[in-house]
C-alpha cells in the first residue's frame, strides 16, 4: 500500500513535471509565433522621426513601420487597401477626397484617434514652411487646402486643383495626433520608436494599441520588437547576416546574392525587375560651361540614339548584375504593371548601325578615333557617384563599348555633393550616369522630371519655354495625364511620353535592376516583393522563431 501510494505520488509528480514541461514548451511556441525580435540594417542614419518631414530611405523605413495611414498600397498586389479609413471617395473633378474612418482606434500613447487628427495632419503637411516632399506631391495649384470634419469618423479634404492619383498619395501620409503630448512620437502604426542610439541602433517596439487583427482575431503585430542597426557597409551587413545576427537584407547586391545562393539558396529571393532604373544622359544645358562642338553632339538626337545603340545592355545585365537585371525598355520598368508601355522594347545592341548613323551625321572614323565633321575627336567624360560599385562597373563597360566605335570616354567618379553641384547648379559636366529610385507607381510622381520648366528635368532644367518641339509635347502630355480623371486616358498620354522619351533619348535608359533580398529561415511569413520596402512590407505579420 505504502509502496502503491509512493508509486502514485511519484507518477503524479512525473505527470506534474510533464505537464509543466508541455506548458513551458507551448508557451515558448506561442512566444515563437507571436513574438520575437526582427533585426536588420538601415543603410544610413534616419534624418528625422517626424513622418511629414521624411525625405530619406532610412526615415521612410521607420515611417512605414510606425506610421498609421488612411489607405495603404498593398506592396504585393499594387492595389489600394483600407487602413485607418474604411472607405474613401474621390470626387469626379479629382479635387476632393472624403474618408470614412475606423472608430475606436487610439494612438500608441492611448490618445483617441479621430477626424480632427487627420485635419491637423493635412494642415501641418500643407504648411508651405514645412517644405516636405510628401506635401509637395499634393501641391498641384496655388491656393489653400480645405479640410472639413463632418463627424469624428468622417472628413473631406478639398485641394485647390486636381491632384492626379490623389488617393494613392495618402499611402505616404502618416497621421499625427493633434492632442498627444508626445507629438509625432505618438503613432498609429504597428510599431513605435522606443529607443534610439545615434549612429548605432533604432529600437522599435510593438504598438499595444495597434488597431489591426489577423483573420483569427489575434492582435497584430506578432513581433515584439524590431532592431534596426545603422550600418552603411554592405560587406559588414552580409557578414552579420551570415553569422545570424541579422534576419533580413532588404536590397542585396547581385554579387553577394550569387555568393549567398551558392551556399544557401533557401535564403535569397529574386523578386524580378524592380521599379528602379539606371540611366545615362548628356548635358544639353545651353549655358553649360562646355565646348560648343560638344554641345552640338549632345543636342543631336541621332548622336544620342547612336550612343544608345552602341551600348550592350545585355552584357551590362549579365556582367555587372550577374543576370539579376533586365535591359530597360523605357522610363518605366515592366514591374509597374499598369503604367508600363508594352509596345516598347529594349534598344538592341548594334555598334555597326550606331557607326552608320554617326557617319550619316558627318562623323568619321580615322585610325580608330571617331571625329566630328570639324575634325574634333569624340571624347567625353561620364561622371557618376563614387561608392556604387555596380554603377562604376557600368561606366567601364560603356567606356569599352564606345571605344569599339572610336569614342573615347573618361570615367570620373565624384562624391555625391560634388556631383549634385555639377548636375544641378554649375552644369559643369558632359554626361552623367545615375539611377532613379522610383517609389511611386504613378507617373505624376515624376512630373518634375519630365516638365521642361522644372529643376529636376536633368538634361536641361529650368527652361523658360520648351527649347525643343518634343519637350513641348512631353510638357503637354504630362499636363494632360495630370488633369484627366479617366485612368485609361491618363495611361494613353503617358504611353506617348514614354515613346517620345525612347525616340529622343534625353535619358538613355540602361537596365532595370531586380529586387534582390535575403531572409533568414528563422523569419516566417516573409514574401519579398519589388516595391519598397521589399522584405518587411508585411512586418506586422512576420514572426521570428528563436535560434
Amino acid at each position: 500500500m505504502k509502496c502503491h501510494i509512493r508509486n502514485s505520488e511519484r507518477r503524479a509528480c512525473w505527470q506534474a513535471i510533464a505537464i509543466t514541461a508541455i506548458c513551458v514548451a507551448l508557451a515558448a511556441q506561442a512566444t515563437a509565433q507571436g513574438g520575437g525580435e526582427l533585426r536588420f540594417c538601415l543603410r544610413a542614419e534616419p534624418k528625422t522621426f517626424h513622418p511629414l518631414k521624411v525625405d530619406d530611405d532610412a526615415s521612410a523605413a521607420i515611417r512605414y513601420l510606425t506610421g498609421g495611414v488612411l489607405v495603404r498600397v498593398n506592396r504585393q498586389t499594387q492595389q489600394l487597401e483600407p487602413g485607418l479609413a474604411v472607405s474613401w471617395n474621390v470626387s469626379k473633378d479629382g479635387r476632393e477626397i472624403s474618408f470614412r474612418l475606423r472608430s475606436g482606434v487610439t494612438f500608441s500613447d492611448g490618445t483617441p484617434f479621430s477626424a480632427g487628427d487627420v485635419a491637423y495632419t493635412i494642415q501641418q503637411l500643407m504648411d508651405p514652411a514645412l517644405h516636405s516632399s510628401t506635401g509637395d506631391a499634393f501641391r498641384s495649384g496655388a491656393g489653400n487646402v480645405e479640410t472639413k470634419v463632418l463627424s469624428p469618423t468622417q472628413i473631406s479634404i478639398r485641394f485647390p486643383a486636381q491632384v492626379a492619383g490623389l488617393d494613392r498619395l495618402f499611402d505616404q501620409v502618416a497621421i499625427l495626433s493633434q492632442h498627444s503630448p508626445k507629438k509625432e512620437m505618438a503613432v498609429l502604426g504597428p510599431f513605435l520608436v522606443s529607443d534610439y542610439t545615434p549612429g548605432a541602433t533604432v529600437l522599435l517596439q510593438r504598438n499595444p494599441n495597434y488597431w489591426k487583427t489577423d483573420d483569427r482575431g489575434r492582435k497584430l503585430p506578432y513581433l515584439d520588437s524590431i532592431r534596426l542597426d545603422i550600418q552603411p557597409n554592405r560587406d559588414v551587413e552580409l557578414l552579420r547576416f551570415k553569422r545570424g545576427e541579422l534576419d533580413l537584407i532588404n536590397s542585396l547586391d547581385s554579387t553577394y546574392f550569387d555568393k549567398l545562393a551558392e551556399t544557401s539558396p533557401q535564403l535569397v529571393h529574386d523578386a524580378g525587375p524592380s521599379l528602379d532604373s539606371e540611366q545615362l544622359w548628356f548635358n544639353e544645358v545651353t549655358k553649360a560651361p562646355i565646348s560648343g562642338y560638344k554641345k552640338n553632339w549632345f543636342h543631336s538626337a541621332n548622336f544620342r540614339r547612336a550612343i544608345s545603340e552602341a551600348i550592350n545592355r545585355e552584357d551590362m545585365a549579365r556582367v555587372v548584375f550577374h543576370g539579376h537585371a533586365q535591359p530597360a525598355a523605357g522610363p518605366f520598368s515592366p514591374a509597374n504593371l499598369f503604367w508600363f508601355n508594352n509596345r516598347l522594347k529594349p534598344q538592341a545592341y548594334s555598334p555597326d548601325a550606331a557607326l552608320k548613323a554617326l557617319q550619316s551625321e558627318g562623323f568619321r572614323l580615322e585610325n580608330g578615333t571617331l571625329k566630328d565633321k570639324d575634325g574634333n575627336a569624340v571624347v567625353f567624360s561620364i561622371a557618376t557617384n563614387s561608392g556604387n560599385k555596380a554603377r562604376e562597373s557600368m561606366a567601364v563597360l560603356i567606356q569599352d563599348d564606345l571605344q569599339k566605335i572610336g569614342i573615347h570616354v573618361n570615367v570620373v567618379t565624384l562624391d555625391f555633393p560634388s556631383l549634385i553641384e555639377r548636375m544641378m547648379q554649375t552644369f559643369d559636366y558632359e554626361a552623367i550616369l545615375l539611377g532613379l529610385t522610383n517609389v511611386d507607381l504613378d507617373p505624376n510622381g515624376e512630373m518634375n522630371v519630365w516638365l521642361s520648366s522644372s529643376e529636376n528635368h536633368q538634361w536641361n532644367p529650368q527652361q523658360k519655354v520648351p527649347e525643343t518641339a518634343w519637350e513641348a509635347e512631353i510638357d503637354r502630355l504630362m499636363r494632360v495625364q495630370a488633369s484627366a480623371s479617366d485612368a485609361n486616358k491618363r495611361k494613353e498620354a503617358f504611353d506617348r511620353v514614354q515613346e517620345i522619351a525612347v525616340e529622343e533619348e534625353p535619358f538613355i535608359f540602361l537596365v532595370n535592376k531586380n529586387a534582390l533580398s535575403a531572409v533568414a529561415t528563422t523569419v516566417h511569413g516573409a514574401a519579398p516583393v519589388i516595391l519598397s520596402p521589399q522584405t518587411f512590407w508585411n512586418a506586422e505579420r512576420l514572426t521570428v522563431s528563436p535560434k
Binding site: 525625405d55 516632399s133 510628401t134 548605432a200 555625391f416 556631383l419
Partner: protein, 290 residues
Amino acid sequence: MRSLRCKIAGHALALLATLLLGGMLSATLVRLAPGFDADEEELDPHLNAQSLQALRDARHKDHNVIRFYFSYMRRAAGGDLGTSLALGQPVRTLLRDRIPLTLRLLLVGLGLAWILSLALALSSAWLRISAYDTVTTAVSGTFLCIPAAVLALLSVLWNVSGALAIALIVFPHTCRYSRNLLMRTYSRPHIIAARARGIGEGRILFWHVVPVVAPQLLALAGVSVSMAVGAAIPVEALCGLPGIGQLAWQAALARDLPLLVNITILVTLVTLLANSSADVIGHMIQRQQA
C-alpha cells in the same frame, strides 16, 4: 614664479590661437570645396521649386564663412556649439554621447599598438639578426599594405574589438620609427662595448638607450595619437561604432559645416595636447640629462 606664470599663460594663449585658427581653416576648407550647397534631397522629384529653394537657402546662410565663424564663436562662448545640419541634433549632445567610446577605443588601440611596436623594435635591436629583422619588417609591412577598411572588416568578421584594428593600423608606423631609432642607438660604439662587457640588457636600456631616444619616441607617441584618430574614422564607420570617427565621416559626406568645425577643433585640441605634453616631457628629460 611670475615668469613661469607668464610662460604658462603665453603657452595657453598660443594653444587657444592655434585651436581657433584650426576651426577657421577647417570652415574655410569645407566652404570652398565643391558640393557645399548641394544636398542629396535636391534629387527628389516630388520637391517643388519653393522647397528646393528653401533647401538651398538653409545652406546659404553659412555662405559667408567669416560671419559663420564669428557667430559660431560667440555662441560657443555661451556653451552652444550649434546644430548639426545632417542629423538635426545639437552638436554638443552628439559629441558628449560619442566621446567616451572613441576615447576608450583610442586608449586601448594605442596601448596595444605601442606594446606591439616596442616588442618588435626592441627585439630587432637586441638580436640584430638580419633574418629576424626581415621577418618583423615583412610582418609590419603586411599590415601597412592591407587597406584600413580591410582590417576593420576583419575585426567584424572575427568579432574582435575595433581597438585591435586601430592598433594594427597604427603599429606598423610606430614600429618602423622606433625600430630605426633603437637600431641606430644600439649601434653606437659605447653601447656595443657595454654589451660586449656583459652589462645587463636592462641596465643598458634604461641608462644608455632610453635617455637618447626618449625625446624622439615621445614625439612619436604624441603623433601616434593623431594616427589613431585618423584610423578611428574607417574603423568606427565600418564596425558601426557610434564614436567621433563615425560622426566625422558622416559630417564630411554631408558637408555638415557646424559639425565639421567642432570636430576639427576637438581633434586639434587632442593633437595639441598630445604633442605639447610629449614636447614638455621630452624637454624635461633632456634638461635632467644635461
